[in-house]
């Protein structure tokens, strides 16, 4: 494999506490050195990263690529391209595909689709229960052997806590990570907006934050009981951050992430009945947003996911409560992280860690760093490059984003996956 030299870039590698301008040597698909040229190194390709940042490729804990089952919305081809253009080199696919990822065959199909798209690092997350119905355990061990990286019930409820307990015990027996999005089905009451002033004014069915915190509490108790490794996904409210902080202090080894858009938008940003703002969990209050940011800054929330959910036009064309929730979010991940830095919510190093080192650690993957010897998953971005979110700049099939037509700052220029260049902005790939 080719030797690549990325030179003159600002190398930021939070895992190794690196932040300096210098060269990065890649050889045989692996990071070779971040200091001196390895002996006999002759570069086949030289990337000039002057004025740019060179960091580990991003690891995304929650995406939907819509295949198999909903290829009218998006495909592996379109979404892995979007991911590559966003600097993402590893993604975890939620199990709520059609069919559900509850058999080894579906997991293998997904690995095949990923290989075919030229983007091998899509890891399926196995369904925790059969068909995600919350009644019977899935064949977790077979699913793990077929390449699933964790188990989850996605957004589907497990109403019977005994079944959740058993599932967690079984997952723990095979050292599987449970990724859990806390949401009490009954308290959620089929809502589509945060239970607060805005939902009240617009008469929208609403979801109280207690729907999240009660489910979170229950799962924390069961984590203590079963010793299952748990990662909480897509937290949305203040008291969830407090509860995770307390659990960590108490010695419970749980982690948490937040979707990028939750760090930027609140219920007050929702344009009247604009379905682009329909997400689950819903946008909550300014206080919740500030707590999520603080949780990120102090490490209680260690990582940020895109929660990428591309939709076709029809899915978002209707009265707000009737539309499908979710945002096409991969391609705004970097600029929105840089916005957090510009607003002094976190440092650039923290932002990069939350998108790479931290999620990789949660998944127990060796990636997310520029340590010599690991696969060269690298993202090079220009933090000052402004671009408009529009059709000509966009790769995902889903254009369902509240940031559509906005001009954002920060653009990925090169993405390397195991030393292979999978995106180059100049080529307009």
């Amino acid at each position: 494999m080719a030797n690549i030299l990325i030179q003159h870039g600002r190398i930021i590698d939070p895992a190794n506490e690196l932040d300096h301008v210098g060269p990065l040597y890649i050889s045989g698909g692996k990071i070779a050195s971040v200091t001196d040229a390895p002996a006999g190194f002759v570069a086949d390709t030289v990337i000039d990263a002057s004025g740019q940042v060179v960091c580990p490729g991003f690891v995304d804990l929650s995406v939907r690529l819509r295949e198999p089952g909903q290829s009218r919305k998006a495909t592996f081809k379109s979404e892995t391209r979007a991911a590559a253009s966003a600097g993402v080199t590893t993604m975890c696919l939620q199990p709520d595909t059609t069919p559900v990822i509850d058999t080894a065959a579906v997991a293998e199909l997904i690995r095949e689709l990923a290989e075919k798209a030229g983007y091998p690092q899509v890891y399926p997350i196995a369904a925790l229960t059969r068909k995600l119905e919350g009644n019977e355990l899935s064949s977790m061990l077979a699913l793990k052997e077929a390449g699933c990286i964790a188990v989850s019930n996605a957004n589907q409820p497990i109403r019977n806590l005994l079944i959740l307990r058993r599932a967690m015990e079984y997952a723990a027996s095979h050292d599987l990570l449970l990724i859990f999005r806390p949401n009490d089905y009954w308290l959620g009451n089929n809502g589509c907006a945060h239970e607060g002033a805005v939902a009240t004014r617009y008469g929208l069915p609403s979801i109280p934050d207690a729907a999240e915190t009660i489910a979170l509490d229950q799962c924390l108790e069961l984590a203590e009981l079963t010793r299952c490794r748990v990662h909480f996904g897509q937290l949305s409210c203040k008291r969830s951050v407090i509860k995770i902080h307390q659990a960590n202090k108490y010695g419970l080894n749980v982690t948490a992430d937040v979707a990028m858009h939750q760090l930027h938008l609140t219920e007050n940003d929702i344009k009247p009945f604009d379905s682009a703002y329909h997400v689950l969990p819903p946008f909550r209050t300014e206080a919740d947003k500030q707590y999520l940011r603080q949780g990120l800054a102090c490490g209680t929330i260690s990582s940020i996911c895109s929660d990428h959910q591309p939709h076709d036009i029809d899915a978002k064309l209707g009265a707000f409560p009737e539309t499908e929730p979710g945002i096409s979010a991969l391609e705004t991940l970097l600029p929105m992280m840089l916005k957090l830095v510009a607003q002094h919510a976190i440092t650039l190093s923290q932002g990069i860690a939350a998108l790479s080192e931290q999620p990789a650690q949660i998944l127990q993957l060796p990636s997310g760093t520029l340590t010599p010897g690991v696969a060269a998953d690298v993202c090079v971005f220009d933090p000052e490059l402004a671009w408009q979110v529009n059709r000509s700049q966009w790769h995902s099939r889903g254009i369902n984003t509240p940031f559509w037509q906005q001009t954002l700052k920060g653009r990925v220029t090169h993405t390397l996956q195991a030393g292979k260049r999978i995106f180059c902005l100049a080529d307009g790939q």
């Binding site: 805005v198 939902a199 004014r201 008469g203 929208l204 609403s206 009265a319």
Partner: protein, 320 residues
Amino acid sequence: MTDNLQLNADGKLKHFLTIEGLSRALLTEILDTAESFVGVSDQQIKKVPLLRGKTIVNLFFENSTRTRTTFELAAKRLSADVLSMSIATSSTSKGESLLDTIRNLESMFVDMFVVRHAISGAAHFIAQHTAPHISVINAGDGQHAHPTQAMLDMFTIRQIKKDFAPLRVAIIGDILHSRVARSQIQALNTLGAKEIRVIAPKTLLPAHVETLGVTVSHDLTEGLQDIDVVMMLRLQKERMTSALLPSESEYFKCFGLTESKLKIAKPDAIVMHPGPINRGVEIESTVADGPQSVILKQVSNGIAVRMAIMSMAMQPQGAF
């Protein structure tokens, strides 16, 4: 979160979707215009030629007799051609999408849609996506808004009480699910009522209801003190089965408007109800039919107010 979708470039009414974002001057203009239409229904020939040659489609995705009828009458008295469609929506058999229905009707050269729909935001959605020359009137969307009902209530209040400034108004019942209450509260606030008090058990109040600009009471006896206008809301029977209330009789005991309860309000207080009434559930028959009740006046005022709104929205240049 405000929008100017309802107004054209000159600040005139284009769509009528919600009271929110409309000025006191505009609401007053609606009431004044309605005033001029009150006489029309008493004439030998109950028609004015304002909307002659215009086509109005009443699009009712949710059942309603009174609202549809008064809209129909209002349109006919303005000499418009009216088509009323009841489109039963079934969540299980998903047929044509809302947008397709609108597009089909658009191509039949319609000038105005009057829309009732069970989902909050449906009228907004239609107004956003329909052809630019078409006006949309919201005849009730989900739990969001029912602005023409609120305006006919304001008209009735003004007829009797003349001025909004000194008024204390109580709205009693299922505020949580009520689009009528949301629009009434916005209209009363815009028109400058002194106090709006919502009276209901906590299960029938939305979260942070006070952010709508109201005071809150959970006790009818306490809440009715000093009240000039009593606005009752209809209580849907299914609220009992969804664990919001224990029983009709307990609700009536606590929040039903009886003659003795009404005595707590000011002696000249008026009693209103958007209909249909559940006698013996939210209101006693002797009160509904009593001297302080203006419920039937509301219904007849509904025609004049809807005539005013339709004619204003159809003549956005202000030539009216």
